[in-house]
Amino acid sequence: MAGSGSTRRPALHLPLGRAEYGEALELQRALHARRKTGAIPDTVITVEHDPVITFGRSSSREHLLVSSQELEREGVALFEVERGGGITYHGPGQLVVYPIVDLREHGRDVKRFVGRLEDATIATLADFKIASGRRDGYPGVWVAQRKIASIGVYVRGWVSRHGLALNVAVNQAHFAMINPCGLSVQMVSACDLSDQPIALEQVQRVFLDRISERFGWRLEEASLPETLGDENE
């Protein structure tokens, strides 16, 4: 666990708001390259995606349960990406977090990195009086047998991209389009587990605090031009 605020390392938070998956993917790749050269410190992108289904490196097409015509009708995009894990749905009402982190500064430990993302999520949900946990051998965050947050990461040159998706208030019908990770698991949103309404912005604010504690960051909000550098302004 990190020490006091004064010993924390500066890191950036880049809030994208609502954005298309492809746009955020390009941005992640650009920031990943800049993190590798040390042009930027650890950077956390937060985003809420337009509806999209993505395939990770362990995906099977069989885990997509609807036709391309149905996807088109529902306005759901499809991407095949480099992250680990299986098929995943992203959409409105979901907090997506992409930590662009140099793991060499955090113990060069892939499992610990994933564990910190899970821990930050569990601590965030606890703030909203939702008890969640890990399931051995099944990365992600679970409420009993239901999945509330999915994880899928890519590490190259010890720098990460992709990350975590936490369901706050997701259209449950959209989850029915996939068999997540081929596990036939049920997905659940925080809103379904709480008597109080929960806003995405609230969850994001708490999550950023919890993840900063775990990585020892002092987060500062940054803009796109600041993180992408002069040549992209």
Partner: protein, 84 residues
């Protein structure tokens, strides 16, 4: 020894506290000329894709861990023949 006629062993780097990884795909073919740190292959563990870099410059001479196989920490992935 970690060398033989077909080159120097490429081992799975220490990724921290993990037992084993699955080989997703090799990104280069046998015979490819590599600089140190070039991308060699992708492995997956804990829902994480990790790109293994070339430990030295040379030519990829052998693939030991085929796509889909499981490799333990420190296990041999392939071999690189160093340039003379």
């Amino acid at each position: 020894m970690n060398t033989n006629n077909s080159g120097i062993e490429i081992r799975l780097p220490d990724l921290g506290e993990i037992d084993e990884v699955r080989v997703v795909q090799w990104l280069v073919e046998i015979g490819a000329t590599l600089a140190e740190d070039d991308d060699l292959l992708e492995v997956e563990t804990e829902k994480t894709t990790f790109v293994v870099p070339a430990p030295i410059a040379g030519q990829l001479s052998e693939i030991v861990a085929a796509e889909g196989s499981m490799v333990k920490q420190g296990g041999v992935l392939g071999r690189i023949r160093q340039h003379a």
